[in-house]
Symmetry: C2
Subunit: 381 residues, 2 copies
């Protein structure tokens, strides 16, 4: 039931004359992990303490169990748009309201869902907990979101610290209606390592791109990806997120993952893209002298990035001088590499009618439509 | 108002014929950090989000702020004795009930309070948050506990990642009535490093021992002390806690901290003591060959440990063969190094009438009374 309603244009901007594919939208639980209880076995519900004094919704005793997120940074306003909450529930937790506010309200034709509450499951010390939570989420997403409105398309979540379970999950859920990608939360092992190769094999076999996203756990938890220094403030942490993606994308390239899995695509959601410019330039230059270290690379490092890696746009770059935007987009090969995202319902949401107003119509169309359709292929139709 | 009531002997054990000094007891907040609001400035209350949708008692939005504890381990029973809760509030949060259940009930004459909720503040990425929470706690402890019953004696908490503030706090609160020690939560810098020396100078100057305790953050958070491997289970984590203390006590010895601060005492609470036996033996043996590395040491490493380091007893060692207990206690120089603790209200509480029943009366008296009185000196009278 793809909408045909005219976008509301509530900011007074001209209506966009093409469809919009939004590649980074976050569904959230209404009542925390309690929402997943129906999708778990009785023994797992017991193991996780649902319904007991120590369940995940309470802070009881000296031992508190939480979903790994950026729990040590103080952000008193929260990280979501207050106007996306219904009845005081978690923003982004009501499929009907999101369809109205985001999809109808902004003329979005396809929204790729990435599990908002599960960004950090790669930091769980127990791999079976991560696997159980991921599987339960995938069923919850299927039933409550993908079957609710066909404009919603979903990434299934896999546990990065439990590769055997991740592969099984891709085989179990990867071809369900509405599934368009594999969201692999980040862990403290770099993405190019052999550890993950079975996941890449499974994703390639099903024709699903791998999606990564800031975990909200970087430099907070011991098993999370770590920045060069632990930031003191949320402000620092938010700016340094590109470090994680730079190291991981570089790792994928230099380990030859794209030689081994030539159909594999990787989409970096909400990770920025300015860092990718320097990464390409330095890798290409150094590779000329150091290629004997990585003899399996048959092309320039930047060639792999341009063919295999995509970046979502939000938060979009805002150079001090507007005239520099064109150079930035050219350097990052935006016409190939960027796909639009709003990041709804996060606080730094990008409105598709405003965020890309300063770029030429043809490039905007590629970013908003063509590149997303190429990345996800027939699964988006 | 030291109690003169006869211990109840509720387990039917013979009444202990001497007083008991309990060196590790945990007061907790009733309603989480909200309890500290009266002891903070308005600007700090605002900064920390008290009273807003994102305050510390709620899990709102994608950004949740929590006190750093072992938040990733599932321990559905919680870590405290359910029978120490009053009106469903946090166990250990009612001074009157604790006085009745622990002090009267077990014939305890002095209980040294160590901040149960603040074990992990060394993992806070923002040092000013740790300092603010510590100062507010120290005033809360003074007003609600130390002034309530003189059997309560308190350790003031200092922020290990903010040495300047820690020294100021020792000067501000160190000589208040009832204060007997400085609780320094652990951080990801080893205890012997110069970083902490101003704290040791201040503690020595005030005649206060430094108390350390498992942080509940080991290998969970990035800035917390790290074990050799991140444990998957709470069970593993609980057993590996000695690693942290071994590294820290060794660090204190080899850096020459006890040469520089000859009056300084360090008490390892709830950290076990079996690891200290091997530590002494190996350090002593290797030091014979390697003393040119640490020329400031004028005595055997074990001599420093015996003179300066104390261990609380709980959880007490339980060898497979009871007859080995005497050898263990002799090897650790228990007659000098051990001080009794119950660890109330934690789940693995040791009853003073049962835990030490298998050791000779004279040694038990040293552990339960004399060693504690020597460690804390006149401040315990």
């Amino acid at each position: 039931m793809s909408t045909t309603a005219e976008p509301a244009g509530r900011h007074g901007d001209p209506a966009v004359d093409h469809e919009i594919i939004d590649c980074d939208v976050h569904p959230y639980f209404k009542d925390g992990l309690q929402d997943l209880a129906p999708y778990m076995t009785e023994s797992w519900r017991e193991r996780l303490g649902f319904g007991t004094g120590a369940d995940w919704t309470k802070n009881y005793a000296a031992s508190q169990y939480v979903l790994p997120l950026d729990t040590l940074y103080i952000n008193t306003a929260g990280a979501t748009r207050a106007d996306s909450s219904v009845d005081g529930k978690m923003p982004g937790s009501d499929p009907a309201f999101m369809a109205e506010q985001l999809l109808d309200g902004h003329g979005i034709h396809r929204a790729v869902l990435i599990a908002g509450h599960l960004f950090g499951i790669g930091a769980f010390p127990d791999p079976t907990v991560a696997a159980t939570v991921a599987s339960a989420y995938n069923e919850w997403q299927q039933e409550l979101w993908l079957e609710f409105d066909e404009r919603y398309r979903g990434a299934i979540v896999v546990p990065p610290q439990h590769v055997e379970a991740a592969v099984k999950e891709i085989d179990r859920m990867g071809d369900k209606p509405g599934v368009v990608g594999v969201f692999m939360p980040l862990h403290d092992i770099a993405m190019g390592e052999y550890h993950y190769h079975p996941i890449y094999e499974a994703a390639q076999r099903h024709g699903l791109p791998i999606i990564v996203h800031p975990s909200g756990t970087e430099s907070v938890y011991a098993r999370a990806p770590r920045m060069a220094a632990t930031p003191t403030y949320y402000l620092e942490w938010h700016t340094a997120l590109g470090q994680i993606h730079q190291s991981n994308i570089m790792s994928l390239i230099v380990h030859g993952v794209f030689e081994r899995f030539p159909e594999l695509k990787v989409c970096v959601a909400e990770g920025g893209f300015m860092w990718a410019i320097e990464t390409m330039l330095k890798l290409d230059r150094d590779w000329q002298a150091l290629r004997n270290e990585v003899p399996w690379l048959t092309r320039r490092p930047s060639d792999y990035l341009r063919e295999h890696v995509r970046f979502t746009t939000q938060p979009f770059v805002e150079p001090h001088k507007k005239e520099h935007l064109a150079a930035i987009l050219d350097m990052v090969y935006a016409e190939e590499t960027l796909v639009f995202s709003s990041d709804y319902p996060h606080w730094d949401f990008d409105d598709p009618r405003r965020a890309l107003n300063d770029i030429p119509a043809e490039l905007r169309r590629r970013i908003c439509v063509d590149n997303g359709r190429k990345l996800f292929g027939d699964r988006l139709s």
